[in-house]
C-alpha cells in the first residue's frame, strides 16, 4: 500500500468540496418536483425531520469512517469498511463504495455534458426564436432519440461527453489540493452567483410583463402551500427521507474518501454540519426559487402538474428564457446551465476521487495513471448509457447504482459503525477534535433512529406500491388481491412489471427487455470485477508482507 501525502489545502476548500459533492443536479431538478408531488409546503416538515435524524447523523458517520480509514492508510471504502467491521469480509461491502461511483459517473458525466453543451448553445443563440415544441425537439435531436432506431448515435452529444469526461480526468489528475479543491473553490461560488441571479429574476416576474401569464409567486405558493393532512401519509415521509438521502450523496463512499485526507484530530462535527446545511441552502432556498416559479409564470399550474420532471430543465427552460429578450435570454441560459454544470462537475469529481484513491492505495498507480485508467473504464461504461438511452440502459444504471446501491451501502455501513465497531468507540471518533458540541442524544439517534429510517427507506424501495399509496395497498392485501408493486419498486423492477413484451428479439432486432437485462448483467459483472480487484489487491499485500 502506498501512503499518500495528499492533504486538503484549506478548511474552506474542504467544506466547499464536500458541499459540492452533495450539491448536484437533483438540488435543482429533483427537489422541486418531489415537493410539489408530495404535499407542497408540508413536505418540508418530514424533509427537515429526516435531515436531522438521518441526514446529519449519516454525514457524521461517514466523515468518521473516512477519517478513521485515512489513519490506517485507506482512502477508499473497502479498506475503511474492513478497519471498522473487524472482519476481512467487510472489505467486500466496501466494494459498493467503488461500484456506485463508477456506475453513477457513467451516466452522470453524460448529463453533465448536456449542461456544458447547453451553455454553448445559449451563448451562440441556438434557441433564438424557437417555440416550446421546437426547443423540446432540439433536445430529442441532440440525444438522437425519437427516431424509431434501437441505437441512439448522437455525434454532437458524444463530442461534448468526451469534453466533459476530459475535464473531469484532467482535474482529478492534478490531485486533491491543486485539482478538486481549486475546482470547488471556483465552481461553488459561481453556482451561488448564477443561482442568485436567476432567483432574483424569477421572483420579480409579474403577470403581463415579459410574456408572463402568472406572477412567479403563484409558483412559490404552489410549492410552499402546506397541506398538513398529507403528513399522516407514509408516502410523503418516504419521499422526504428518500430526497434527504439522495441529496446529501451519502451511501456512496465519496464523503468517506474526502474525509480520509484529514488528520487524526481534525474536526469532523462542524465540517459535516456546515457542508450538510450548505447543501440544504442550495436545495431549499435556491432550488425552490428557480424552475417552478419561472415555469408557472409562463406555462401555468396545470402544465407543471402534468410535466414536472427531470428533462424539463432542458426541454422547457431555454424557451422560457427567450421571453426576456435576446441578451438576457443568453445570460440566463448561461447562468442556468452553468449552474447545473458547476453542480454536476463538483459532484462527479467527488465520485471519481474514491476510484482514483483505490488505484493509488491498492495498486500503487500514480495520479496520472489512475486518472487515465478511470477515464478508460468510464468511457466503456458510458457507451451503453449513450447508445441505448432510449431503450432504458441509462435509467437502469440510475436505478441500480443511484438508488439501490446507495441505500444498501448506507444500511450496512451504519450497522458496521454503530453495532460492530461499537457506538461508544464510534461516538468518540465523531466527537474527537470537534469544534462544536454535539448533543449526546445523537449517540442514541445514530444507534437506533437512523438505522430505522434507513430500513424504512429500503423496505419502501423494495415494496413500493403502485401510485405510492400504501394504505390502499394494505387494503388490497387484506382483501386477498395481492400486493400491487409499483413498476419502479425493487421487486417491480426485477420482475419487469409494466413491460408487456417479454421476447428478447423481434425479427432479429433487440427489444427493450433484452437491453435492460444486458445492462443489469453489465452492472453485476462490474460489481464482481471490482470485488476480484479488491481480493487481488489484498492478496498482493499479504504476499508483500
Amino acid at each position: 500500500m502506498t501512503h499518500t501525502n495528499e492533504r486538503w489545502g484549506s478548511r474552506i476548500g474542504l467544506i466547499l468540496a464536500m458541499a459540492g459533492n452533495a450539491v448536484g443536479l437533483g438540488n435543482f431538478l429533483r427537489f422541486p418536483a418531489q415537493a410539489v408531488q408530495n404535499g407542497g409546503g408540508a413536505f418540508i416538515i418530514p424533509y427537515l425531520v429526516s435531515f436531522l435524524l438521518m441526514g446529519i447523523p449519516l454525514l457524521w458517520i461517514e466523515w468518521a469512517i473516512g477519517r478513521h480509514g485515512g489513519q490506517h492508510g485507506f482512502h477508499s471504502a473497502p479498506g475503511m469498511m474492513q478497519s471498522i467491521g473487524r472482519s476481512s469480509l467487510w472489505k467486500y461491502v466496501g466494494v459498493f463504495g467503488i461500484f456506485t461511483n463508477l456506475a453513477i459517473l457513467a451516466y452522470y458525466v453524460y448529463i453533465e455534458s448536456w449542461t456544458l453543451s447547453y451553455v454553448w448553445f445559449s451563448l451562440t443563440g441556438a434557441f433564438n426564436g424557437k417555440t416550446t415544441e421546437q426547443v423540446s425537439q432540439f433536445f430529442s435531436a441532440y440525444l438522437n432519440i425519437g427516431t424509431g432506431q434501437s441505437i441512439n448515435l448522437p455525434i454532437k452529444a458524444i463530442l461534448f461527453f468526451l469534453t466533459a469526461l476530459s475535464i473531469n480526468i484532467l482535474v482529478l489528475s492534478r490531485g486533491l489540493a491543486k485539482g478538486v479543491e481549486i475546482a470547488s473553490k471556483i465552481g461553488m461560488p459561481l453556482l451561488l452567483i448564477f443561482g442568485a441571479f436567476l432567483a432574483v429574476r424569477a421572483l420579480t416576474l409579474n403577470a403581463g410583463e415579459a410574456g408572463a401569464v402568472n406572477d412567479a409567486f403563484e409558483g412559490l405558493n404552489f410549492l410552499w402551500q402546506p397541506q398538513f393532512d398529507s403528513l399522516s401519509n407514509p408516502k410523503i415521509w418516504l419521499a422526504a427521507a428518500g430526497q434527504i438521502f439522495f441529496t446529501l450523496s451519502v451511501g456512496m463512499g465519496t464523503v468517506h474518501c474526502y474525509a480520509s485526507y484529514l488528520r487524526q484530530n481534525d474536526d469532523i462535527a462542524l465540517n459535516g454540519a456546515a457542508a450538510g446545511w450548505m447543501n440544504e441552502f442550495v436545495e431549499v432556498v435556491l432550488g425552490g426559487s428557480l424552475i417552478i416559479p419561472i415555469a408557472v409564470a409562463y406555462l401555468g399550474l396545470p402544465w407543471i402538474k402534468e410535466n414536472v420532471g427531470f428533462e424539463m430543465g432542458f426541454r422547457t427552460m431555454p424557451m422560457l428564457f427567450q421571453n426576456w429578450g435576446p441578451i438576457l435570454a443568453a445570460v440566463a441560459g448561461i447562468a442556468w446551465f452553468g449552474l447545473l454544470f458547476c453542480a454536476g462537475v463538483t459532484s462527479s469529481l467527488a465520485m471519481g476521487q474514491p476510484v482514483m484513491a483505490f488505484f493509488q492505495d491498492e495498486y500503487g498507480l500514480n495520479r496520472r495513471r489512475s486518472a487515465i485508467t478511470l477515464g478508460g473504464i468510464l468511457l466503456m461504461l458510458s457507451l451503453p448509457c449513450i447508445l441505448f438511452y432510449e431503450m432504458g440502459a441509462f435509467g437502469e444504471f440510475d436505478y441500480w447504482a443511484g438508488t439501490f446501491s446507495l441505500v444498501v451501502f448506507a444500511l450496512l455501513e451504519i450497522i458496521a459503525f454503530a453495532w460492530i465497531f461499537g457506538i461508544d468507540k464510534g461516538w468518540a471518533e465523531i466527537t474527537r477534535g470537534a469544534d462544536i458540541k454535539i448533543h449526546p442524544i445523537f449517540k442514541y439517534v445514530i444507534k437506533y433512529v437512523t438505522p430505522l429510517f434507513l430500513v424504512a427507506v429500503f423496505v419502501g424501495s423494495v415494496f413500493k406500491p403502485d401510485g405510492g399509496n400504501w394504505l390502499a395497498a394494505f387494503s388490497d392485501l387484506l382483501h386477498g388481491q395481492g400486493w400491487p408493486f409499483a413498476t419502479d419498486s425493487i421487486i417491480g423492477t426485477v420482475l419487469n412489471i409494466g413491460i408487456t413484451e417479454k421476447r428478447w428479439f423481434i425479427d432479429g432486432v433487440p427489444t427493450q427487455i433484452f437491453i435492460l437485462n444486458m445492462t443489469r448483467l453489465l452492472l453485476l459483472s462490474t460489481f464482481i470485477a471490482i470485488s476480484v480487484a479488491v481480493y487481488l489487491a489484498w492478496r498482493r499485500k499479504e504476499v508483500k508482507q
Binding site: 409546503g41 408540508a42 427537515l48 410549492l223 410552499w224 462542524l270 465540517n271 454540519a273 446545511w277 469544534d435
Partner: protein, 41 residues
C-alpha cells in the same frame, strides 16, 4: 401567496440560513490547519 405559504417558506428559509451562516462563521474563524493534531506533535 397565501399567509400559510408565506409563513412556511420564510420560517424554513430562516432556519436554513441561520444554520448555514452560524456554521460558516465558525469554519472561517477556525482554519483547519491551525489546530495541531496528535500526528503533528
Amino acid at each position: 401567496m397565501t399567509t400559510s405559504a408565506w409563513i412556511m417558506m420564510l420560517t424554513t428559509w430562516a432556519v436554513v440560513i441561520f444554520f448555514v451562516v452560524k456554521f460558516f462563521i465558525k469554519v472561517i474563524r477556525l482554519p483547519l490547519n491551525q489546530k495541531r493534531s496528535v500526528k503533528d506533535l
